[in-house]
Structure formats: C-alpha cells, structure tokens
Assembly symmetry: C2
C-alpha cells in the first residue's frame, strides 16, 4: 500500500483525537451484565459523515441518523445500544429511535439532530425503553477522555464479538499533529455492502463534512466492503465519522499537500477494523486474506476476491488446514467475471499450487503447517490485466454453527 504516511498509536482509541470523550455501561438489554449502551461525545460540533447498509430493510436508528445528518452535517454525539437491533420493529421502533436521540440530546444539552443513534442485536423485537432511558440518564456522568472511556464504549457495542476492535493512527497536517481513531463491532451477518456492522471514527482533523463523506465512502469500498463472514448483509450496518477540527490544521481539501496522509490514515483505520471484524467473525479461528491480481479490472478482482472469501467450502477447508485449492479455482470460475481458464496461478502463502492453470506438486506437510497458522493468505493471479483487490474473511467452524443455531435463545 505504498509509503507509510502515518504512525500507529499503540494504546490510542476513539478518545485520543482532541475533543472526544466516551462512556459505556450495562443498562439491561443484554442478559448478562456486559456493557450494552455507550456514547461518544465531542466538545464542539464535529463535521460528520456516514455510510449505511444497502439492505432494503434499514433499521429505525439508521433512518433517524440519516435524517439528522442531512439537516446539519455536524454531530456532537454517537449513541449506541447492543443486544437489540431495533430493526423491522415498525412505527414503534422508529418512535423508540427518535426517543433515544431526543433523550440523549436533552441530558447533554445539545440539539437532537446532533445525536447519531445506532443499534445492534436481534431483529424484530421492540427495545426495552425503560432500560435504555435509564442508561442514557447515567451515561453523561461516566464520560471520560482517557483510554477507559474508549474501552467502555468499545465493549458496549459488541454482540457475539469476542474482542473489542479499535485502531488509532497519527500524522501531521500543516505541521499540526492530527489523529484518527476508529472503533467497530462485527461478528455475524457480516457481508457489508456500503458500510459495515457498526463503525465509529473520530478525528481532530479540520475537514468539511462533504469531503469527509466522499473520503469515507471511498475508503469503505476498500475496507469494510471487502470483508465477509457469512454473506449476510445486515439491516443495521452503519459507519459514522466525526471530525472535531481541534487539530487546528488548515481545512483539508483534495489539493491540500497532506490530504494523502489523511486519506491513507483513514483507509488504514478502516482496513484494520475490517480485518479485526473478519478475524473475530462468529466462530472463527483465523483470518483469511485473499489477494487477487492480474484481473481485467479492479471491479473484477473485487468480485473474485469476495467470491473466494465467501465460499463455505474454502472457509471449511481453511478451518481444517486442508490445502484444497480446487475449491479456490471453482470459486474463481463462478464469480461471473472474465477469466482466462488457462493462465491462473494460485498460491497459499508462499506455496505455489497452480501455475498457468496447471497443478504443481507441493509439500503437503509444509502446506499443513502454513494452514495451521492464525492468518492464511490466498494469492490468485489471473495474468490478464492490472486489476487487483484484497478481501478479508474467516474460516467456517463448528462454533459458527453452534452460535447461530441458537442466537435468540
């Protein structure tokens, strides 16, 4: 991905960029005492942008957030609950989402259009609003600008996720230090098409909301839109970004000399979060990365990479550490893209298995050892053109079935 234009902030999180505080707690939506409501708050009105699921059945909070962002283009807070998706809940669901937004605005003393709302969890069940209200009332007192605040928020957005997902990078713009941080949740019903699950980005860069929206959409296409856990696009996917502007740089434009650093930093934050979601997919034991090069176009490479990463047979084979490249080529062949059937190369890691569509004898023990690792990289070269793409996913395991055979119970 070229020259590194930014530095990772090891212990950084969504409260690292200047102006942001966060909180998270248990209000009673999850059965166990895990965190289930959280909020990120900015000291100043932040330029904001968001991308939403393409699923036709968009959850109520997405509709409410979209309306509010269309009004002003700035946000002061992002409120999220887990344990209940508030999707397919009809008019009551929409009223509940509006109520969450209004209550949060009231306790923070801001306008309701400055509050984004998001929900994740089971579909088709009404929110227990008394518990949500109780949470909203308690959150302001818990707001912190340190790592603890970010940690509490990250935990509050998880469902079947096993680990919290947070990334932070820093770089300079006009000589000023700028930071971008992101938090996300994923796990199941992961096949984003527009945005992912829930993702939250904070930055102190000074950037207008329309440019932020453009860049957010572009990086989403090469990050969250390139992962799949199970091929199911959720009703609740949403990625929201807030830029406080407190880094005090000259406002970013596409012609700004440091714009590429901002873009690279945001892309890195989103790609790392996307990979964390893939690695922590429901039941997953490893991350699968599929690199497709030599395709007729980037779009063709993307489609092929996502077909491979979405194949249940490929995913099961990786779980079983079985170097079954036949399943990879079968996926290439059904992706609906131009392929020269005589010129395909396939490697697992560094191990060449197919060259110019001809099977190569390889050492099964070496392949087994590689496949037992926690990251498996599938390389496909179509040797046709310069189109390329990278997609991320995870293996298909007994635990995926176990988790999803009894999700509601």
């Amino acid at each position: 991905m070229g020259q590194q234009l930014f530095t990772m902030v090891q212990d950084g999180g969504i409260t690292t960029p200047r102006g942001f505080k966060a909180a998270g707690m248990h209000c009673g939506l999850k059965k166990t005492d895990r965190h289930d409501i959280g909020v990120v708050v900015c000291d100043v009105p932040a330029a904001a942008a968001a991308v939403y699921t393409t699923n036709l059945f968009q959850a109520a909070p997405l509709q409410v957030t979209r309306e509010s962002l269309n009004e002003g283009g700035t946000l002061r807070a992002m409120l999220v609950n887990s344990g209940n998706a508030n999707a397919c809940t009809g008019e009551q669901g929409e009223a509940d989402a509006r109520s969450m937004q209004a209550q949060m605005a009231e306790v923070l003393g801001i306008s309701k259009n400055e509050v984004a709302v998001a929900s994740t969890g089971v579909i088709g069940v009404l929110l227990k609003m008394d518990r949500v209200s109780s949470g909203i009332a308690q959150l302001p007192a818990k707001l912190r600008s340190d790592a603890q605040g970010a940690d509490d928020f990250c935990k509050a957005i998880l469902t079947t996720d096993l680990v919290k997902k947070e990334v932070c990078v820093t770089f300079t713009v006009d000589g000023q230090q700028v930071t971008i941080a992101g938090a996300a949740k994923g796990s199941g019903m992961i096949h984003p098409n527009m945005a992912t699950m829930l993702g939250f980005v904070t930055t102190d860069a000074k950037i207008g909301s329309s440019l932020l929206q453009e860049v957010l959409r572009e990086v989403t296409d090469v990050s969250f839109n390139m992962i799949t856990v199970d091929g199911d696009t959720s009703t609740n996917d949403m990625l929201v970004a807030m830029a406080s502007g407190l880094a005090d740089n000259r406002e970013l434009t596409r012609s700004h000399p440091d714009f590429t650093a901002f873009e690279a930093g945001l892309r890195h934050v989103c790609q790392e979060l996307a990979k964390m979601i893939a690695r922590d997919g429901e039941g997953a034991t490893k991350l699968i990365e599929t690199v497709v090069i030599g395709a007729q176009s980037d779009a063709a490479a993307q489609a092929i990479a996502k077909t491979i990463i979405g194949s249940s047979l490929v995913k099961s084979a990786v779980f079983g550490a079985d170097a079954n490249w036949g399943r990879i080529i079968a996926a290439v062949g059904r992706a609906g893209q131009p392929v020269n059937v005589n010129t395909v190369d396939i490697r697992l890691g560094d191990i060449l298995m197919l060259e110019q569509s001809t099977p190569i004898l390889f050492d099964e023990d070496v392949a087994l050892e590689y496949l037992k690792g926690d990251t498996v990289v599938i390389h496909v070269n179509l040797n046709m053109g310069s189109g390329q793409a990278i997609a991320w996913g995870c293996d298909l395991t007994y635990d995926y079935v176990r988790i999803n055979a009894a999700y509601r119970t």
Copy 2:
C-alpha cells in the same frame, strides 16, 4: 403445480424405461470398497440432451461430452466415475476423459461419440486410469435391466451423499405407456447454475433431441437451478437425458396433446431429484423449502427465494430450530430485487410471524415443534405482484463443517 398428469412408479429407476440397462462397481478410485464407476446403456441410439455447469472451469469430461453430443445428438451410454472429478487437470485430464470414452465405446462396440462421460469427486488430481480401465472392462458383463442394475449405478455416482437419489414416473402418450426415470448425486459444492451435480434421465418416449434439449433446459430452471447447499457452483455439474423412443408413441412436439404430460413428468422427476439432493446436502438434517409469492416477477421471486435458502444464518437457525424470522427478512432485503418494505408477510409452515412487515406474536413452543420436523417451509409474500418461485436447500450443521474441513484427507 396443477393436475397430476402422471403416476409415480414406486420401485422404478433408470432401467425402468424400455431399452435401458445399467451397472455399477468398485474399481479402486474410492478408498473404501464403495462403488465408484457405473454406466447406463441403451439398446438403441437414444435422442439425447444435456445441460452443463456455468462455472468457467468446466471439467474435462464435460467438454468431451459436449463435443460428442454436438456431433450426433444421440447417445448409447453414459459412463460415470466418482471419487475424482477430473477437473483442472490440464491436457492429461482431457486425454484421460477421451480415453474413458473410447475404451467404453470399444467394449460396447459402439461409436465413441455415443458415449457421454462424467466425473465427480476431488478437483485437481489426475485419474488413476489403470483402475478406470479395469472398471470399464468389467462393466459390460454386469449390465442388468432390472432394479439391481439401477441400484448399482446410483451407488456408483455418490460421493459424500448418504442416500441414493432415483425417481420414476409414468403416463400415456397416444395411449402408449411412457416412463421417465432419473438418478442424481449431490451433497456438496451445490449451487447449480445451469445443471446440477450429476443427473441422469432415461425415458422411452419418442422425442427429438432438439425438443428434448429445450424441455430439459426449461425444467432445469425450476428444479436443479433452484437448490443450494452451500452456494458453491461445481466445475462438474451436468444433467444428461436419453430418450430411447421404444414406447413407440407418435414423436412428441409442443403441439402434441400429451406433451404437457411429458413436460410435467420430466419436471417432477427433476424437482424430486433436486429436493433429494437438497435434503441430503452435506451434513444436513432437514430439507428447507422457500416459497416466495407476490413478487414483481418470477425472476425477482427466484432471486429472493435463492437468497433466503442460501443464507448461512437462516440455515443455522433452522438447524437450531430457532424461529428467527429477522434473518429471513434481512435476506429478502439484500437480494437486490424490488421489495416494498411495508408489505411483507412471513410464515414458517402455518405460523404467521410477520404481516405487512409488522411482527406478529406467535407461540414459540408451536414454532419449535414445527422447526424440529424434517422439512421446514418458509413462506414469503411480498404482496406486490404475481411473481412466484420455490427454492430448496438444507440446514447448516456441525457435520457440514466436519465433512468439509477434511475432504481430501
């Protein structure tokens, strides 16, 4: 599906139509002593038709069969091995497929273009041709026109299938009794797009090969093309039909008064085989049928039905007997088809769960009892138009993962 124009033949199989014999045996391609090579032979040149996988990487035997059928349009034999797919095996694989065809033709004393060849099993490994040759040499002596011959053939085409798949129907054309029978294998890498896995149809109807080809393609679209086990379209899918003409009816045309009976019979044979493949999907414990009505078009209904039946989340929920209709509506919403998000009804069996997109309280115990059965029917009414479709699939289970985590080993 309207009036029954045919009668099921309970113990019928592919040797029931007049003129057909079959055989199957173990030649050494499978590790255990299960049957792995079989043949169906017709006493006379049979009008023939076939449909093939749309996967770009078509296995060598498909190319050879297609060429031969294009030459003459008639077949005398269909030779199949299991245990090795002879796919992605380069020039040697093609030479092996041609050699299988030529050897079978020689021992039967017929032209090589009268032999269709098919293979199923692992991809990318060369056939052990000495074992195949030994099987071909022994098969003619084992040919039988009774149920035993059909049974041996059906067993010879299975891979991870647990049960053999055979259907037979009869009806009259011009007062003559006509019989259609079919055999198939399925199990994994099942998401046919053009044909399925391996399917073989025999009939004694008199019908030209071009009309047979047309009808075969039409019924494939509403049978094999409407099932999915795991979303993976195989490199080896092929459905071949042979019509001996020995029923001695006046040759069938579209205007023949009994053409509808032939079409209905062939559709039934193909749909029943398709459902058997779905029910016996790798690791499956039950058949899922998805009925979509009220769509804007049949094509929209088909796409939605296949999206639902292909959802890993829906499949896992059915395995766990969890009435999680939220996953069904999420699949409807990502199918890429026109949907009015306010008018959707969903039923599981007879249990209404969503009406006009509003959740309906239902008895969880009754739903659990229904979902524990061996067949689960998902009804979706979009209330938009008259488009409809039915798709079939199976649940996603621990055993699917177990089987596919170590397929080659």
